[in-house]
């Protein structure tokens, strides 16, 4: 999806904080959210205003049938264990039924707060490939994480570490100048895993700053420090910052990093791994979508068996992002 219209100025994209009451003032055809019992997911779903509302259930949360929402006025899409993110998103989009959507930008809205990151990314590309002009998405910040710097996000073993489907890109055989950009979050286990997976690549860290809450920056660093053996010696000049709640600024930072490395000596394969917030994961997906192929980029992710159902406490703020795709010509 290399954009022929030059839309790589990520600052142009709309990003606004939105109160729940204001969110309710916009009517969507379909509102989709991945269920978990935290306030910042459940409350937003309740307030969203849509002709159809759809709860998505990720197997990674380990819900029993009795845990699932069964309220009237919403449909349920339950993921299957054997499905990878491509199959999952394909079936989800089929259930959404894009043909039934009214034309116009505000037909579809996702709440990415509870979604798994590979699925967020694959959805972005899939919706573009299916011809959607764009969509809205929301992301809600917690007041704090339940156990602060000790909050555990992924649980169980890591099933596999691989490229995200659809984000496999073009490979360069010479791995001498490979670069791995990791959006480092709290999950040091995932950071170690992906750093070891691409052991030979030079590592660059993107740290969420400004963080969602003031103390989360330091909590983040304390967790990243646990992965330092796997990361190796990452010089200070290879640590970058991108707002934890801004996908577009994140994409712009990734572009800056890639430009800087290419100017400084070239990049063989550019590996990206968003392991921080869902908002940043969206940014990684957009960067790949607009610039990935020309940069030999691909996105890799450590797929964990499970995730904690609730990690955050409260709802501090909700952001709405508007993702617009360039017009497609000749099927590209």
């Amino acid at each position: 999806m290399n954009d022929p219209h030059g839309i790589d100025e990520y600052a142009m994209y709309y990003r606004n904080p939105v109160s729940l009451s204001d969110l309710g003032k916009t009517r969507y055809d379909v509102f989709v959210s991945a269920y978990n019992p935290s306030d910042r997911v459940v409350d937003v779903f309740a307030k969203a205003n849509a002709s159809r509302k759809l709860w998505v259930v990720h197997q990674e949360y380990g819900f029993h049938d009795t845990d699932l929402p069964n309220g009237s006025g919403s449909d349920l899409f339950v993921g299957v264990d054997d499905d990878d993110e491509a199959s999952f998103c394909g079936k989800l989009v089929d259930q959404i039924d894009l043909d039934s959507l009214e034309s116009g930008r505000r037909s579809l809205c996702f709440d990415f707060t509870g979604f798994m990151r590979p699925h967020i990314m694959h959805l972005v590309l899939l919706l573009y490939k299916r011809g959607l002009p764009g969509f809205d998405c929301v992301y809600s910040e917690p007041v704090r994480y339940a156990r602060r710097e000790r909050t555990q996000f992924s649980i169980g073993g890591i099933r596999e570490t691989r490229q995200v489907r659809g984000f496999e890109g073009v490979a360069a055989p010479d791995s001498t100048d490979d670069l791995l950009i990791i959006g480092v979050g709290y999950d040091d286990r995932l950071i170690s895993e992906v750093a070891q997976f691409k052991d030979a690549a030079r590592k660059v860290m993107v740290i969420g700053f400004p963080s969602l809450r003031a103390d989360m920056y330091q909590q983040n660093l304390l967790r990243v420090a646990l992965a330092r053996e796997a990361l190796g010696d990452v010089p200070r000049r290879w640590r970058y910052f991108a707002p934890a709640n801004d996908p577009f600024a994140t994409a712009a930072v990734l572009a800056d990093i890639a430009d800087g490395r290419e100017a400084g000596g070239g990049v063989g394969n550019l590996y990206l791994s968003p392991l921080a917030t869902k908002a940043q994961a969206l940014g990684f997906a957009l960067f790949y979508a607009f610039e990935g192929e020309r940069r030999n980029a691909s996105i890799i992710f450590p797929f964990s068996h499970g995730y904690q159902q609730e990690t955050g406490v409260g709802l501090a703020r909700t952001w709405r992002y508007t993702v617009e795709f360039p017009m497609q010509t000749n099927g590209t």
Partner: protein, 671 residues
Amino acid sequence: MADIDQPLSLRGPIRAVKSNDLTDQQIQDLWIPFDGVEGDRRLSFYDPCNRMATMVLGGKGSGKTHMLRFYSFPVQGLRYQRGDVDWTEEIARDGFVGIYTKAGGLNGSRFFGKGEGLEVWKIVFAYYLELWLGIEFLEVVTSMLSKVEDLRFHERDLVNGFLSCFDNPPELAEFSIAGLLANLKEVRKDIDRRVNDLVFGGPLRFRVRCSPGRAVFGFPQVVSAYCPSFRSIQFSYSIDEYENFLPYQQESVNTLLRERESPVTFRIGARTYGVKSRRTNSADEDIRAGSEYEELMLDQQLRENETKFGQFAREMVVQRTSGFGGPRTVAELDQCFSINAASTDESQASRHLDKLEGELSAILGRARPQSLLGLLRTLPSAILQKAAIYHLYQDVAKGNVDLVRAIGRVEALVRDFPAGSDDPLRRIAGHYGGDFEAQLRRDGGTRTEERSLGDFLVMSEGLPRVFLTIMKNIFAWAEFEGHREGNGKTEQISPEARRRGLEEASRWFFRDVPQSGKEGELLVAAIDRLATLFRVNRFADKPIESSLIQFSVPLNRISQEARDRINNAESRCLLIRREFGEKDRSASNEIRAKYQLNRVICPIYELPIARRGTARLDGHIIEAVFGDADEDEFSRVRSKMRRRLNWPFLGAKKDPELALNQGSGDGREPS
């Protein structure tokens, strides 16, 4: 910490410890020949000119990548760039050209699923691998073009020859090696795009231009045919990180190995557990060690040569520290890790006496134990006191013993001390001294045991990266403590810096080595359980064996799960298999496999690094540790062991499933 970011990269003279972090120049500059003659690039256990394919297997950090990169381009080329050398002569002197690539670079997981069957992916991957290796070969040839006249002179013939390897030769925009290289890269990119877009409904259709092996073998054959200077040169494809291939992908490589044609050979670098299949696509025949390939167990090779490893590892460290303010020679390094004369302050060590007093008073009243306690205090050291107490405990553990008489026997031993050269208390102290010292340290709230460089070498278990990581962390802590303010090159590093650095390295190893997934978790849990049992013994009132970090097991009489887990632990160097097992003294006289805990893990559990006793684990105990037993079952085993080994020694009758012998250890004490 002055800087909140400091934890992300502690300072210290040693930076890169992973060979993947090293540039090509560093691979060359930091190479230390393990053995072999200076100037002769062969090692005693590895000959880069060996025509037989070689699988170089080893644990993480065993040096596989460094070795494979050293013997391949571009590092080979860096050696030729020194001075005014003739590349043709240097290549002839080497006798080989190495072509290095990493399996991980192909990102093999994308050639799977996506609605296509395995038979389709086998064809796609085989062709992709052909292109990949062919491109790598042409890149090496390109790097030699400007330096080797033979190649330049015959370039057109070479391009014609390369094109003849294709069933459907590509059309070249530029008739040159560079032109062919550019074309093949575009062909490969096209496949990349098609494989990626398959999930969006794109077609996986493209023209397969050559059969498996045609480029891999054909390209080198063309160079040999047209360029006289390469007639006797071997071309060696080094495929590293082989464990990153899926099983069917390894079978594609195995097929090339089996069907290899001169002048080509292969070097496969893989973790010990990383070879997932030995099958080939040739009528499902397997490749066999000793027949189609040789197997080099690299870490085992290094481990078995203790003296050479010691010298090699020291030089490795000095290579890295000498330019960064650290020790410049092996002698200076040894000086940094010198040990002070033992100066154990035992004046505060009395907890063991208080404990004994409490135990005996509860049965006999306060008065009776006082004479024993008084006598114990006359012994010259706390170790001897513990030896005497151990003797009493041993008596009591037999069961049905008259406690007063038992106390009397110990009092007699203490009064008679020392009773000649074979004094019983000295004998016990000699045997269990290491465990007693650990107990005294714990009782006294002291954690710091002064470790020597020799200890760290032993703990590395033949893995160079483990040793470097230990050294790196220790030097970083030493610098943090300000040791380098003064004469940092030879200033003795504090015991505390050594302890902290070692502890970090131990935790890194235990966290870093196990695999992903459920099995990785179970593996970590199994090792944790094993180490926990060893620790119960270490700090028990009556340890059943001294310096216990080994166990033996009848592999053919345990569950498949337990056996697989033990094998997995061994392949990941969490357990080290001892060369000689031990005889089962039962009627069967079978040989039991013997294993030892990797000693870099021992500090986490305050375990010794000297190997002495061996626990014979059988039945439900081995299943509780290595099988699929739940935590409750293991807790029962642990509790039973604690009761047996600690006052009042309930259930102390010999447990047939936890039998122990005198140990066939090497008796090595920490240096």
